[in-house]
């Protein structure tokens, strides 16, 4: 770990000021990711700006009937919140599929959005990695890439975004509220994370000085028909090889609307509204679920160790949609 200055921010303004004055300064929430990155010498902040005293810890209703979750609400609090469980069980389930109770007790909503990839090479400073050190090469592409992306990859980087919570937020079409030097803005979830392209060092479209203040959930929570399926190498405490957030509104046996987000397959939670639209008005049957699955992973490309994810993703989508529709084991 490098030497750094510690600043405890009294308000959002001060936090933003310190970070905009020092290009390598970092906010710290739960610290469950940032501290690891510092210990492994991946990140070397000049200043660590503690935001945990800021008043961003509430969960409250929004005027339009949605829910607003403060950036400092812990993952545990969100997952066990009565309103979240009742109205957005998909979100609750996704969070509880991630990490461990101890980590979820520390991890914050803002920090979860900004957690960095678990690519082995990114964490090992003895290896090349374009995300950590632009221009050094991508170790994973020619190396061991079992946990890597199959969709939206670039020549420069094939990393995935590891969050479970974000997959649910993508399906729910949450909005990220941020504040920065240039004032406040709202970023739709689909535009929050980026694909690696030629700038794999950038995970999101957040500006360097911007602070996440809240995540807002729209009124529709798909409470009746949603599920989060996480496929991983052990029963708990492992990142997703593939995960699926599936949400449906049903009209009798027919689908009125569908949302499907994939985790573990791309640099951001993967959605394809055109694929989802294939279900609109269709009977909720395996055959139609299969068509969505095929469309979602169209164009997927494996790199050897991770090629199995293409087939796994398809099967997982079908299984998740069946579960969401409450039609497991039916044709």
């Amino acid at each position: 770990m490098n030497r750094f200055s510690y600043v405890r921010a009294r308000d959002a303004r001060e936090a933003v000021d310190v970070v905009s004055a020092h290009p390598t300064a970092r906010f710290i929430g739960g610290g469950t990711n940032l501290l690891d990155l510092m210990k492994e010498h991946v990140t070397h902040p000049s200043h660590v700006v503690d935001i945990t005293r800021l008043p961003l810890k509430g969960i409250e209703d929004t005027p339009d009937g949605g829910l607003r979750i403060g950036a400092l609400v812990t993952n545990s609090e969100v997952a066990w919140n009565a309103e979240v469980k009742r109205r957005y069980p998909l979100l609750s389930k996704a969070i509880l599929a991630g990490a461990s109770p101890q980590l979820r007790n520390m991890a914050t909503t803002g920090g979860n959005l900004l957690q960095r990839t678990r690519c082995y090479y990114f964490y090992d400073v003895g290896t090349p990695c374009n995300k950590r050190e632009p221009g050094s090469g991508c170790g994973a592409k020619t190396g061991f890439n079992r946990i890597h992306a199959i969709l939206g990859t670039s020549e420069q980087c094939i990393a995935t975004h590891p969050s479970d919570m974000c997959v649910a937020l993508a399906a729910l079409e949450a909005v990220v509220r941020v504040t920065g030097k240039d004032g406040e803005r709202a970023i739709p979830f689909a535009d929050f994370h980026r694909l690696p392209g030629d700038t794999p060092q950038l995970d999101t479209n957040l500006k360097p000085d911007e602070l996440i203040t809240a995540v807002e959930l729209p009124p529709e929570g798909f409470a009746a028909h949603s599920t989060y399926l996480k496929v991983r190498d052990r029963a708990s405490y492992a990142f997703a090889l593939v995960s699926v957030a599936a949400a449906l509104t049903l009209d009798g046996g027919h689908v009125r609307s569908a949302r499907v987000a994939l985790g573990g397959v791309a640099h951001k939670p993967w959605r394809n509204p055109e694929a989802e639209a294939l279900l609109t008005g269709k009977p909720a049957t395996r055959e139609h679920f299969q068509a969505v699955a095929d469309a979602l992973v169209r164009g997927a490309k494996g790199f050897g160790h991770n090629t199995f994810k293409i087939e796994l993703a398809k099967r997982s989508v079908v299984r998740a949609l069946e579960e969401a529709a409450g039609r497991e084991g039916q044709p």
């Binding site: 010498h41 003895g126 290896t127 190396g143 061991f144 496929v231 052990r234």
Partner: protein
């Protein structure tokens, strides 16, 4: 007269349990002294080549950084191989840290930064700039197998493959039913919770007290004395607690060398603790490729048994383990051929890991036996019983005891094996396929020479000691029990000391031989105390036991008693007073009895596993395991059960999770942390049932007990793999069985 056992066979709680859960137990990296310095290791990023330059100037500019040791500035040290050898060294040229500019594996220590604080040392280490001139490397066993060779020399405890008998290849050709398959096992690392660490205390008189993470304090002491040319009196190595080692502490590791080097040069106390990533840089279970070919007649009689293995070693040593010998020990067969080769990779030398050789050799063998049973349409247990060996054919010797039949029978009954439908894919629950598999386990029951000292004081306390280790196996507890039992004392009156090079000689703690070896010495030392006490009590005038025959005296509840009239008794302390002594001391060495040589001594098991496999997603859950063990006399059913359960968990881990992934382009292990190197979590481990079958063995050692540290893991991976086949009809011949292999 032998006193009936009061302490042996009892589920005594761990005597060190309280110290461990309260944090009172201190580990090698936790001993603090004023002025302690901290060393941080800098590891190589290339797998092979030369160091062109090391620039430590930025690190050295930081106030509080004392020195950066490299091959360029290290003191002159001996260069003979023999100076660096240790009790567990295979043949070859041992690795010498900071020896020269050559890099022989990725992660090799190339510099040690020493600073006033741990944080500073870590930071400074990140500032050391190293330039390399890389050479091409080879880390892929498949690619190197064509260059495999027969290992040049043996090693203590190594049994070369048996010489072939009969005509195995011809018999295979002619066999009515045969299987011929290749199995692959990956590199695995030990991953003990406690990282390797050495705290070297530079005493005022210049001597060294070293707290080292090791399975053998004497091994570390000898190594330090040889390498740094020091007399034994000046080096004391201690290791009172070890937070798991599993074989990784059998050789002195490089943090010991580096900490001693720095302490000697700086004349200060120094600690070096390895990072989790560095825990992947000094030895591992070797990757193997194994062919097992079995031929049988239609009734299941084994007619050919071929087991060939290629196992990885380093470019500088020939690491060897017993992989291919087990088949012809377990099964009777007239035509046997076994072959064992090693292939050199640009990785560190592998090192023993729980049940080295057997864990992976028996995996291949018992998988093949299952394939044969399926091909024969025969029940897997029936096939094993059909070919059950009463004698060890490799050596043509009888077994000192072998209650393996009882293991099959009792394990099968507990598991409900009789209800198994042999047809693969015949059981299903929802979208999961259910499968049942079984396998056999075998491991050696060895005894090594060992010494122990027993001292009895007038306060009635008994202190017994030996330079052995407790790596979590329960040595403290079982030795306390043996001593208490021999002298009829309560557990609380006995203290056992270990992990100190100033104590009587003990072998490395490995091979599951500690109870047999050190336990026998403890027993003998305490028996000698008994004899003295009996003499005092019988020969002193006025003693209540005066004149009683020696064989009439029993020890119970802190007393010597007349067996036929227990009212005639003296306490142990009174007996000492009668003898006019203030303390009694005995030190003995126990050596294996020569009669052992006439027998093969092994511990056996039968393992049964149930798996549930998600048919669409390929995920495997092990929902039930029964392990039935024939391990001689069980001295402490609680610690014994824990050992076997731990072994079973590790077997599940081998079967489903563990693999250190190599990037062959970089020649480097990549998943070197607990997030990405998977071992089972609680949710992966369901029911584990351990059975100890009765087994009487008067040959194996004076206690009649066989070590249980390793048998628990052997056979488990095969049982799980066989269950996966039974569930899915798919035979996965490479570990771990990850979901992608079942899609």
């Amino acid at each position: 007269m032998t006193t009936p056992s009061t302490q042996l066979g009892r589920p005594v709680n761990r005597v060190d349990g309280r110290a461990k859960v309260t944090g009172e137990a201190r580990y090698a990296g936790e001993f603090n002294v004023p002025g302690l310095l901290y060393g941080q290791v800098v590891s190589s990023t290339i797998a092979r080549g030369r160091i062109k330059s090391i620039d430590a100037s930025e690190a050295l500019r930081l106030p509080g950084v004392l020195r950066v040791f490299t091959h360029e500035n290290r003191p002159s040290l001996p260069w003979f191989d023999r100076k660096y050898r240790d009790d567990d060294a295979p043949s070859g040229s041992p690795f010498r840290p900071l020896h020269n500019d050559k890099v022989v594996y990725s992660g090799q220590p190339v510099a040690l930064v020493v600073a006033e604080t741990f944080e500073l040392a870590r930071h400074a280490a990140s500032l050391v700039r190293i330039e390399y001139k890389p050479d091409s490397h080879e880390t892929d066993l498949r690619a190197q197998r064509k260059k495999a060779y027969a290992p040049r020399q043996g090693k203590d405890g190594f049994e070369p493959p048996p010489k072939p008998w009969g005509h195995a290849d011809k018999a295979l050709d002619k066999a009515a039913v045969k299987v011929d398959a290749e199995y692959e096992t990956p590199v695995e690392h030990h991953n003990p919770m406690e990282p390797h660490a050495s705290t070297v205390i530079h005493e005022d008189d210049g001597t060294l007290t070293i707290y080292d993470k090791t399975q053998g304090v004497l091994n570390s002491q000898t190594y330090v004395c040889n390498v740094f040319d020091l007399p034994k009196e000046q080096v004391r190595v201690r290791s009172p607690f070890v937070g798991g080692a599993f074989g990784s502490g059998l050789r002195p590791q490089y943090q010991l060398f580096l900490a001693v080097l720095a302490a000697r040069e700086l004349k200060r106390s120094v600690r070096v603790t390895l990072t989790r990533e560095q825990m992947f840089t000094f030895g591992h279970r070797p990757a193997t490729l194994q062919r097992v070919a079995l031929g049988a007649s239609a009734d299941g009689t084994l007619e050919a048994l071929i087991h060939e293995a290629v196992s990885e070693t380093s470019s500088f040593e020939d690491y060897i383990e017993v992989l291919v010998n087990w088949g012809s020990m377990l099964y009777r067969c007239d035509n046997v051929r076994a072959d064992y080769k090693v292939a050199a990779l640009d990785c560190y030398t592998p090192i023993d890991m729980r049940a080295p050789g057997a864990a992976i050799g028996v995996y291949a063998l018992e998988s093949a036996m299952d394939e044969l049973a399926h091909a024969l349409r025969m029940d897997p247990i029936a096939l094993r019983l059909k070919n059950y060996s009463e004698r060890d054919q490799n050596k043509d010797k009888p077994y000192s005891s072998k209650e393996l039949r009882a293991c099959y029978q009792q394990g099968a009954e507990r598991f409900g094996w009789a209800r198994r439908n042999p047809e693969p894919r015949s059981m299903r629950e929802g979208h999961e396929l259910v499968g049942w598999g079984m396998a056999t386990g075998i491991w050696d029951a060895m005894q090594q020479p060992a010494s122990a000292k027993a001292v009895l004081g007038l306060d009635g306390r008994l202190v017994v000691s030996s330079a052995t280790a407790d790596i979590g196996t329960g040595t403290y507890t079982v030795m306390t029990q043996i001593a208490a039992d021999t002298l009829g004392l309560p557990i609380e009156s006995v203290t056992f000391k270990l992990g100190d090079s100033s104590l009587p000689m003990a072998p490395l703690e490995g091979g599951s031989w500690t109870v047999a070896s050190v336990g026998s010495a403890v027993k003998e030392a305490c028996e000698k105390l008994r004899e003295q006490l009996v003499t005092f009590a019988r020969k002193t005038k006025g003693s209540p036991l005066a004149g009683v025959g020696a064989e009439e005296v029993v020890f119970a509840e802190g007393q010597l008693r007349n067996a036929s009239d227990p009212s005639r008794a003296v306490s142990i302390v009174e007996a000492m007073r009668l003898g006019g002594v203030t303390h009694l001391e005995e030190q003995t060495s126990a050596v294996p009895s020569p009669k052992q040589q006439a027998y093969t001594r092994c511990v056996h098991s039968a393992v049964f596993a149930e798996v549930k496999v998600d048919e669409a997603l390929g995920t495997v859950r092990v929902t039930r395991v029964v392990s039935a063990v024939a391990g001689g006399r069980v001295l402490n059913p609680k610690t014994a059960r824990s050992q076997v359960m731990g072994g079973v968990v590790w077997g599940i881990s081998m079967a489903l999770h563990e693999e250190t992934a190599l990037d062959h382009t970089l020649g480097r292990f990549m998943n070197h942390n607990y997030a990405e190197y998977h071992v089972p979590v609680n949710a992966d481990v369901r029911d584990i049932d351990v059975i100890f079958v009765d087994e009487d063995d008067t040959v194996v050692n004076p206690l009649g007990a066989k070590g249980l540290g390793e048998i628990g893991i052997v056979g488990v991976a095969a049982a799980v793999a066989n269950a996966v086949f039974h569930a899915t009809g798919r035979r996965v011949r490479g570990l771990p069985i990850t979901l992608d292999k079942l899609l």
